[in-house]
Symmetry: C2
Subunit: 222 residues, 2 copies
Amino acid sequence: MKSGDFVLIDYIGKVKDSGEIFDITKEDAAKKEGVYKKEFRYGPVPIIVDADFVLPGLNEAVKEMTIGERKTIELPPEKAFGKRSDELIKLIPETQFRAQGMEPEVGTFITINKLKGKVMSIDGGRIRIDFNHPLAGKTLVYDIEIVGTISEDSEKVKAVVYYFIGVPSEVVQAEVKEKEVDIGFTKKFDILTEAKQTIAETIIKWVGMEKVKFVDVFYKEK
Amino acid sequence: MKSGDFVLIDYIGKVKDSGEIFDITKEDAAKKEGVYKKEFRYGPVPIIVDADFVLPGLNEAVKEMTIGERKTIELPPEKAFGKRSDELIKLIPETQFRAQGMEPEVGTFITINKLKGKVMSIDGGRIRIDFNHPLAGKTLVYDIEIVGTISEDSEKVKAVVYYFIGVPSEVVQAEVKEKEVDIGFTKKFDILTEAKQTIAETIIKWVGMEKVKFVDVFYKEK
Protein backbone atom coordinates (compact mmCIF):
# COMPACT_ATOMS: atom_id res chain seq x y z
CA MET A 1 0.00 0.00 0.00
CA LYS A 2 1.20 3.53 -0.64
CA SER A 3 0.79 7.00 0.78
CA GLY A 4 -2.73 8.31 0.28
CA ASP A 5 -4.33 4.91 -0.30
CA PHE A 6 -7.71 4.36 1.33
CA VAL A 7 -7.35 0.95 2.91
CA LEU A 8 -9.85 -1.22 4.76
CA ILE A 9 -8.20 -3.15 7.55
CA ASP A 10 -9.26 -5.68 10.14
CA TYR A 11 -7.13 -6.05 13.22
CA ILE A 12 -6.82 -7.36 16.72
CA GLY A 13 -4.74 -5.28 19.12
CA LYS A 14 -3.30 -6.98 22.21
CA VAL A 15 -0.98 -6.01 25.02
CA LYS A 16 2.07 -8.21 24.55
CA ASP A 17 2.72 -9.05 28.21
CA SER A 18 -0.81 -9.72 29.40
CA GLY A 19 -2.40 -10.84 26.14
CA GLU A 20 -5.29 -8.47 26.92
CA ILE A 21 -7.29 -7.50 23.80
CA PHE A 22 -7.92 -3.73 23.74
CA ASP A 23 -9.23 -3.33 20.18
CA ILE A 24 -10.80 -5.76 17.74
CA THR A 25 -12.67 -5.12 14.49
CA LYS A 26 -14.14 -8.53 13.62
CA GLU A 27 -17.40 -9.47 15.28
CA ASP A 28 -16.90 -13.24 15.12
CA ALA A 29 -13.36 -12.96 16.50
CA ALA A 30 -14.61 -10.75 19.32
CA LYS A 31 -17.21 -13.35 20.24
CA LYS A 32 -14.66 -16.15 20.06
CA GLU A 33 -12.28 -14.22 22.30
CA GLY A 34 -15.03 -13.39 24.76
CA VAL A 35 -14.64 -9.61 24.36
CA TYR A 36 -17.75 -8.96 22.25
CA LYS A 37 -19.60 -5.73 23.06
CA LYS A 38 -23.13 -5.35 21.76
CA GLU A 39 -22.94 -1.57 21.28
CA PHE A 40 -19.63 -1.66 19.39
CA ARG A 41 -19.69 -1.22 15.63
CA TYR A 42 -17.64 -4.07 14.15
CA GLY A 43 -16.29 -4.23 10.63
CA PRO A 44 -13.15 -3.31 8.71
CA VAL A 45 -11.82 0.14 9.56
CA PRO A 46 -11.09 2.59 6.73
CA ILE A 47 -7.75 4.32 7.06
CA ILE A 48 -5.76 6.62 4.82
CA VAL A 49 -2.09 5.69 4.62
CA ASP A 50 0.11 8.48 6.06
CA ALA A 51 -2.85 10.60 7.19
CA ASP A 52 -2.39 10.06 10.95
CA PHE A 53 -5.52 7.91 11.14
CA VAL A 54 -3.72 5.17 13.08
CA LEU A 55 -0.65 4.63 15.25
CA PRO A 56 2.63 5.35 13.42
CA GLY A 57 3.74 1.71 13.74
CA LEU A 58 0.46 0.40 12.33
CA ASN A 59 0.67 2.85 9.43
CA GLU A 60 4.22 1.71 8.61
CA ALA A 61 3.15 -1.94 8.62
CA VAL A 62 0.19 -1.31 6.31
CA LYS A 63 2.51 0.44 3.85
CA GLU A 64 4.55 -2.76 3.53
CA MET A 65 1.52 -4.99 2.92
CA THR A 66 -0.69 -5.92 -0.05
CA ILE A 67 -4.41 -6.64 -0.37
CA GLY A 68 -5.43 -9.90 1.30
CA GLU A 69 -2.21 -10.12 3.28
CA ARG A 70 -2.16 -10.89 7.00
CA LYS A 71 0.63 -9.93 9.30
CA THR A 72 1.41 -9.87 13.00
CA ILE A 73 3.46 -6.94 14.14
CA GLU A 74 4.93 -5.86 17.44
CA LEU A 75 4.92 -2.18 18.32
CA PRO A 76 7.28 -0.98 21.03
CA PRO A 77 5.88 1.86 23.16
CA GLU A 78 7.60 4.56 21.09
CA LYS A 79 5.68 3.46 17.97
CA ALA A 80 2.44 3.06 19.95
CA PHE A 81 1.27 5.12 22.92
CA GLY A 82 4.67 6.35 24.07
CA LYS A 83 6.65 5.63 27.21
CA ARG A 84 5.22 6.12 30.63
CA SER A 85 6.09 9.43 32.23
CA ASP A 86 6.50 9.87 35.98
CA GLU A 87 5.53 13.50 35.52
CA LEU A 88 2.03 12.38 34.62
CA ILE A 89 1.56 10.87 38.06
CA LYS A 90 0.11 13.59 40.25
CA LEU A 91 -0.58 13.96 43.94
CA ILE A 92 -3.78 15.87 44.57
CA PRO A 93 -5.19 16.81 47.99
CA GLU A 94 -8.36 14.89 48.83
CA THR A 95 -10.03 18.14 49.92
CA GLN A 96 -9.98 19.35 46.33
CA PHE A 97 -12.31 16.50 45.36
CA ARG A 98 -14.51 16.88 48.43
CA ALA A 99 -15.13 20.52 47.46
CA GLN A 100 -16.59 19.29 44.19
CA GLY A 101 -18.59 16.55 45.83
CA MET A 102 -16.39 13.82 44.32
CA GLU A 103 -15.26 10.75 46.23
CA PRO A 104 -12.47 9.05 44.29
CA GLU A 105 -11.94 5.31 44.80
CA VAL A 106 -8.76 3.38 44.13
CA GLY A 107 -8.83 1.71 40.71
CA THR A 108 -11.44 3.98 39.17
CA PHE A 109 -10.90 6.55 36.44
CA ILE A 110 -11.63 10.23 36.91
CA THR A 111 -11.43 13.16 34.54
CA ILE A 112 -9.80 16.43 35.58
CA ASN A 113 -9.36 19.31 33.12
CA LYS A 114 -10.35 16.91 30.31
CA LEU A 115 -7.51 14.55 31.27
CA LYS A 116 -8.46 11.03 32.28
CA GLY A 117 -6.51 9.50 35.12
CA LYS A 118 -6.57 6.36 37.19
CA VAL A 119 -6.71 6.61 40.98
CA MET A 120 -3.67 4.67 42.24
CA SER A 121 -3.82 5.23 45.99
CA ILE A 122 -5.36 7.41 48.67
CA ASP A 123 -3.04 8.08 51.56
CA GLY A 124 -2.83 10.71 54.26
CA GLY A 125 -5.34 12.96 52.54
CA ARG A 126 -3.44 12.83 49.26
CA ILE A 127 -4.61 11.05 46.15
CA ARG A 128 -2.15 9.64 43.66
CA ILE A 129 -3.51 9.76 40.11
CA ASP A 130 -1.86 8.33 37.01
CA PHE A 131 -2.63 10.41 33.90
CA ASN A 132 -0.53 8.24 31.58
CA HIS A 133 -2.45 6.61 28.71
CA PRO A 134 -3.42 3.13 29.93
CA LEU A 135 -1.39 1.66 27.05
CA ALA A 136 1.65 3.91 27.55
CA GLY A 137 4.81 1.92 28.17
CA LYS A 138 3.29 -1.24 26.72
CA THR A 139 4.48 -3.21 23.76
CA LEU A 140 1.48 -3.98 21.58
CA VAL A 141 0.86 -6.85 19.21
CA TYR A 142 -1.40 -6.30 16.21
CA ASP A 143 -2.77 -8.97 13.90
CA ILE A 144 -3.55 -7.00 10.75
CA GLU A 145 -5.35 -8.01 7.59
CA ILE A 146 -5.72 -5.80 4.53
CA VAL A 147 -9.31 -6.42 3.51
CA GLY A 148 -9.42 -4.14 0.49
CA THR A 149 -9.06 -0.63 -0.79
CA ILE A 150 -11.52 2.14 -1.59
CA SER A 151 -11.19 3.64 -5.04
CA GLU A 152 -14.50 5.48 -5.62
CA ASP A 153 -14.33 9.13 -4.54
CA SER A 154 -17.81 9.06 -2.99
CA GLU A 155 -16.84 6.04 -0.87
CA LYS A 156 -13.64 7.78 0.18
CA VAL A 157 -15.67 10.77 1.30
CA LYS A 158 -17.95 8.49 3.34
CA ALA A 159 -14.92 6.83 4.91
CA VAL A 160 -13.61 10.22 6.06
CA VAL A 161 -17.00 11.18 7.53
CA TYR A 162 -17.17 7.83 9.33
CA TYR A 163 -13.66 8.21 10.68
CA PHE A 164 -14.22 11.66 12.18
CA ILE A 165 -17.81 11.58 13.41
CA GLY A 166 -18.72 7.88 13.34
CA VAL A 167 -21.73 8.31 11.08
CA PRO A 168 -22.06 5.03 9.15
CA SER A 169 -21.89 5.23 5.37
CA GLU A 170 -25.45 4.04 4.78
CA VAL A 171 -26.70 7.29 6.35
CA VAL A 172 -24.32 9.50 4.34
CA GLN A 173 -24.98 10.79 0.85
CA ALA A 174 -21.89 11.86 -1.08
CA GLU A 175 -22.49 13.21 -4.55
CA VAL A 176 -19.27 13.82 -6.44
CA LYS A 177 -19.09 15.98 -9.56
CA GLU A 178 -15.55 16.44 -10.82
CA LYS A 179 -13.71 18.23 -8.00
CA GLU A 180 -16.80 18.99 -5.90
CA VAL A 181 -18.69 16.90 -3.40
CA ASP A 182 -22.07 17.47 -1.77
CA ILE A 183 -22.41 15.70 1.56
CA GLY A 184 -25.84 15.07 3.02
CA PHE A 185 -27.34 12.80 5.64
CA THR A 186 -30.54 10.78 5.57
CA LYS A 187 -30.93 11.55 9.28
CA LYS A 188 -30.43 14.99 10.83
CA PHE A 189 -27.32 15.50 12.91
CA ASP A 190 -25.88 18.50 14.68
CA ILE A 191 -22.34 18.59 13.35
CA LEU A 192 -20.16 21.37 14.70
CA THR A 193 -18.48 23.71 12.24
CA GLU A 194 -15.13 22.61 13.64
CA ALA A 195 -15.83 18.96 12.73
CA LYS A 196 -17.05 19.97 9.27
CA GLN A 197 -13.85 21.95 8.80
CA THR A 198 -11.67 18.96 9.70
CA ILE A 199 -13.67 16.61 7.45
CA ALA A 200 -13.54 19.09 4.58
CA GLU A 201 -9.78 19.64 4.91
CA THR A 202 -9.15 15.89 4.94
CA ILE A 203 -11.33 15.37 1.86
CA ILE A 204 -9.63 18.23 0.04
CA LYS A 205 -6.18 16.89 0.88
CA TRP A 206 -6.69 13.14 0.48
CA VAL A 207 -9.59 12.75 -1.95
CA GLY A 208 -8.39 15.66 -4.07
CA MET A 209 -11.58 17.70 -3.99
CA GLU A 210 -11.57 21.49 -4.38
CA LYS A 211 -14.99 22.20 -2.90
CA VAL A 212 -16.77 20.37 -0.08
CA LYS A 213 -20.38 21.25 0.55
CA PHE A 214 -22.40 20.08 3.55
CA VAL A 215 -26.08 20.08 2.76
CA ASP A 216 -29.10 19.93 5.08
CA VAL A 217 -32.38 19.68 3.21
CA PHE A 218 -35.91 20.21 4.46
CA TYR A 219 -38.92 19.44 2.28
CA LYS A 220 -42.50 20.60 2.30
CA GLU A 221 -44.69 17.90 3.80
CA LYS A 222 -47.05 16.42 1.26
CA MET B 1 -51.41 44.90 5.09
CA LYS B 2 -52.78 41.38 4.77
CA SER B 3 -52.08 37.93 6.12
CA GLY B 4 -48.71 36.60 4.93
CA ASP B 5 -47.27 40.00 4.00
CA PHE B 6 -43.63 40.54 4.93
CA VAL B 7 -43.67 43.99 6.50
CA LEU B 8 -40.85 46.18 7.79
CA ILE B 9 -41.89 48.14 10.81
CA ASP B 10 -40.35 50.70 13.12
CA TYR B 11 -41.82 51.10 16.55
CA ILE B 12 -41.42 52.48 20.04
CA GLY B 13 -42.97 50.43 22.83
CA LYS B 14 -43.76 52.14 26.14
CA VAL B 15 -45.44 51.20 29.36
CA LYS B 16 -48.54 53.40 29.49
CA ASP B 17 -48.46 54.28 33.19
CA SER B 18 -44.76 54.96 33.64
CA GLY B 19 -43.84 56.06 30.13
CA GLU B 20 -40.84 53.68 30.31
CA ILE B 21 -39.54 52.67 26.88
CA PHE B 22 -38.90 48.91 26.74
CA ASP B 23 -38.36 48.48 22.99
CA ILE B 24 -37.31 50.86 20.25
CA THR B 25 -36.13 50.19 16.70
CA LYS B 26 -34.87 53.58 15.52
CA GLU B 27 -31.36 54.54 16.47
CA ASP B 28 -31.89 58.29 16.39
CA ALA B 29 -35.08 58.03 18.44
CA ALA B 30 -33.27 55.85 20.99
CA LYS B 31 -30.55 58.50 21.34
CA LYS B 32 -33.10 61.28 21.63
CA GLU B 33 -34.98 59.40 24.34
CA GLY B 34 -31.77 58.56 26.19
CA VAL B 35 -32.23 54.79 25.94
CA TYR B 36 -29.61 54.11 23.25
CA LYS B 37 -27.62 50.90 23.69
CA LYS B 38 -24.42 50.48 21.72
CA GLU B 39 -24.70 46.70 21.31
CA PHE B 40 -28.32 46.76 20.13
CA ARG B 41 -29.01 46.27 16.43
CA TYR B 42 -31.31 49.12 15.38
CA GLY B 43 -33.35 49.24 12.19
CA PRO B 44 -36.82 48.30 10.95
CA VAL B 45 -37.96 44.87 12.09
CA PRO B 46 -39.24 42.38 9.50
CA ILE B 47 -42.44 40.66 10.51
CA ILE B 48 -44.83 38.32 8.73
CA VAL B 49 -48.47 39.28 9.27
CA ASP B 50 -50.34 36.50 11.15
CA ALA B 51 -47.22 34.37 11.69
CA ASP B 52 -46.92 34.99 15.45
CA PHE B 53 -43.81 37.10 14.99
CA VAL B 54 -45.17 39.89 17.22
CA LEU B 55 -47.73 40.46 19.97
CA PRO B 56 -51.29 39.75 18.84
CA GLY B 57 -52.33 43.40 19.34
CA LEU B 58 -49.40 44.65 17.27
CA ASN B 59 -50.19 42.18 14.50
CA GLU B 60 -53.84 43.33 14.41
CA ALA B 61 -52.80 46.96 14.16
CA VAL B 62 -50.36 46.31 11.30
CA LYS B 63 -53.14 44.54 9.38
CA GLU B 64 -55.19 47.75 9.44
CA MET B 65 -52.35 49.95 8.22
CA THR B 66 -50.78 50.83 4.85
CA ILE B 67 -47.19 51.54 3.78
CA GLY B 68 -45.86 54.81 5.18
CA GLU B 69 -48.61 55.07 7.75
CA ARG B 70 -47.93 55.89 11.40
CA LYS B 71 -50.19 54.97 14.23
CA THR B 72 -50.22 54.94 18.01
CA ILE B 73 -52.01 52.00 19.58
CA GLU B 74 -52.78 50.97 23.11
CA LEU B 75 -52.59 47.29 24.02
CA PRO B 76 -54.36 46.13 27.16
CA PRO B 77 -52.52 43.29 28.98
CA GLU B 78 -54.62 40.58 27.32
CA LYS B 79 -53.38 41.67 23.87
CA ALA B 80 -49.82 42.07 25.15
CA PHE B 81 -48.06 40.04 27.85
CA GLY B 82 -51.15 38.80 29.67
CA LYS B 83 -52.48 39.57 33.10
CA ARG B 84 -50.39 39.10 36.19
CA SER B 85 -50.90 35.78 37.91
CA ASP B 86 -50.54 35.36 41.68
CA GLU B 87 -49.68 31.74 41.04
CA LEU B 88 -46.43 32.85 39.44
CA ILE B 89 -45.28 34.39 42.73
CA LYS B 90 -43.41 31.66 44.57
CA LEU B 91 -41.99 31.32 48.06
CA ILE B 92 -38.73 29.40 48.05
CA PRO B 93 -36.67 28.49 51.13
CA GLU B 94 -33.39 30.40 51.29
CA THR B 95 -31.54 27.14 52.03
CA GLN B 96 -32.31 25.92 48.51
CA PHE B 97 -30.22 28.78 47.10
CA ARG B 98 -27.46 28.40 49.66
CA ALA B 99 -27.06 24.75 48.60
CA GLN B 100 -26.27 25.98 45.10
CA GLY B 101 -23.97 28.71 46.29
CA MET B 102 -26.44 31.43 45.24
CA GLU B 103 -27.16 34.53 47.30
CA PRO B 104 -30.28 36.24 45.98
CA GLU B 105 -30.70 39.96 46.57
CA VAL B 106 -33.94 41.92 46.54
CA GLY B 107 -34.56 43.57 43.17
CA THR B 108 -32.32 41.26 41.14
CA PHE B 109 -33.42 38.67 38.60
CA ILE B 110 -32.59 35.01 38.93
CA THR B 111 -33.28 32.05 36.66
CA ILE B 112 -34.66 28.80 38.01
CA ASN B 113 -35.59 25.91 35.70
CA LYS B 114 -35.17 28.29 32.76
CA LEU B 115 -37.77 30.66 34.25
CA LYS B 116 -36.64 34.18 35.05
CA GLY B 117 -37.97 35.73 38.20
CA LYS B 118 -37.50 38.90 40.19
CA VAL B 119 -36.58 38.67 43.86
CA MET B 120 -39.32 40.61 45.71
CA SER B 121 -38.40 40.06 49.36
CA ILE B 122 -36.34 37.91 51.68
CA ASP B 123 -38.06 37.25 54.96
CA GLY B 124 -37.72 34.62 57.69
CA GLY B 125 -35.63 32.35 55.51
CA ARG B 126 -38.12 32.50 52.67
CA ILE B 127 -37.60 34.24 49.39
CA ARG B 128 -40.52 35.66 47.44
CA ILE B 129 -39.91 35.50 43.69
CA ASP B 130 -42.13 36.92 40.98
CA PHE B 131 -42.02 34.82 37.81
CA ASN B 132 -44.53 36.99 35.94
CA HIS B 133 -43.25 38.60 32.75
CA PRO B 134 -42.05 42.10 33.74
CA LEU B 135 -44.65 43.55 31.33
CA ALA B 136 -47.50 41.29 32.45
CA GLY B 137 -50.48 43.28 33.68
CA LYS B 138 -49.28 46.43 31.93
CA THR B 139 -51.05 48.40 29.25
CA LEU B 140 -48.57 49.15 26.49
CA VAL B 141 -48.43 52.00 24.02
CA TYR B 142 -46.82 51.42 20.64
CA ASP B 143 -45.96 54.05 18.06
CA ILE B 144 -45.81 52.05 14.84
CA GLU B 145 -44.67 53.01 11.37
CA ILE B 146 -44.93 50.76 8.32
CA VAL B 147 -41.62 51.36 6.58
CA GLY B 148 -42.11 49.03 3.64
CA THR B 149 -42.74 45.51 2.52
CA ILE B 150 -40.50 42.74 1.27
CA SER B 151 -41.52 41.20 -2.03
CA GLU B 152 -38.40 39.34 -3.23
CA ASP B 153 -38.36 35.71 -2.13
CA SER B 154 -34.65 35.78 -1.32
CA GLU B 155 -35.14 38.83 0.93
CA LYS B 156 -38.07 37.11 2.62
CA VAL B 157 -35.85 34.11 3.34
CA LYS B 158 -33.21 36.39 4.85
CA ALA B 159 -35.86 38.08 6.99
CA VAL B 160 -36.92 34.70 8.42
CA VAL B 161 -33.31 33.74 9.16
CA TYR B 162 -32.76 37.11 10.85
CA TYR B 163 -35.92 36.76 12.91
CA PHE B 164 -35.05 33.31 14.28
CA ILE B 165 -31.29 33.41 14.75
CA GLY B 166 -30.42 37.10 14.49
CA VAL B 167 -27.94 36.66 11.65
CA PRO B 168 -28.02 39.93 9.66
CA SER B 169 -28.96 39.70 6.00
CA GLU B 170 -25.58 40.87 4.68
CA VAL B 171 -24.04 37.64 6.00
CA VAL B 172 -26.77 35.42 4.53
CA GLN B 173 -26.85 34.09 0.98
CA ALA B 174 -30.26 32.99 -0.25
CA GLU B 175 -30.39 31.62 -3.77
CA VAL B 176 -33.93 31.00 -4.96
CA LYS B 177 -34.73 28.82 -7.96
CA GLU B 178 -38.46 28.34 -8.47
CA LYS B 179 -39.68 26.61 -5.31
CA GLU B 180 -36.23 25.84 -3.88
CA VAL B 181 -33.88 27.93 -1.83
CA ASP B 182 -30.21 27.37 -0.92
CA ILE B 183 -29.21 29.17 2.25
CA GLY B 184 -25.57 29.81 2.98
CA PHE B 185 -23.55 32.10 5.21
CA THR B 186 -20.44 34.11 4.48
CA LYS B 187 -19.29 33.37 8.03
CA LYS B 188 -19.46 29.94 9.64
CA PHE B 189 -22.09 29.46 12.32
CA ASP B 190 -23.13 26.47 14.37
CA ILE B 191 -26.88 26.38 13.81
CA LEU B 192 -28.73 23.62 15.59
CA THR B 193 -30.87 21.26 13.54
CA GLU B 194 -33.86 22.36 15.60
CA ALA B 195 -33.38 25.99 14.54
CA LYS B 196 -32.89 24.97 10.91
CA GLN B 197 -36.11 22.99 11.11
CA THR B 198 -38.06 25.99 12.42
CA ILE B 199 -36.57 28.31 9.81
CA ALA B 200 -37.28 25.81 7.02
CA GLU B 201 -40.89 25.28 8.13
CA THR B 202 -41.49 29.03 8.27
CA ILE B 203 -39.99 29.53 4.80
CA ILE B 204 -42.03 26.65 3.38
CA LYS B 205 -45.22 28.01 4.90
CA TRP B 206 -44.80 31.75 4.39
CA VAL B 207 -42.47 32.12 1.41
CA GLY B 208 -44.10 29.21 -0.41
CA MET B 209 -40.95 27.15 -0.94
CA GLU B 210 -41.04 23.36 -1.31
CA LYS B 211 -37.39 22.67 -0.54
CA VAL B 212 -35.08 24.50 1.82
CA LYS B 213 -31.40 23.62 1.72
CA PHE B 214 -28.80 24.80 4.22
CA VAL B 215 -25.37 24.80 2.68
CA ASP B 216 -21.93 24.96 4.31
CA VAL B 217 -19.12 25.21 1.79
CA PHE B 218 -15.39 24.67 2.29
CA TYR B 219 -12.90 25.45 -0.47
CA LYS B 220 -9.40 24.29 -1.16
CA GLU B 221 -6.96 26.99 -0.17
CA LYS B 222 -5.16 28.47 -3.16
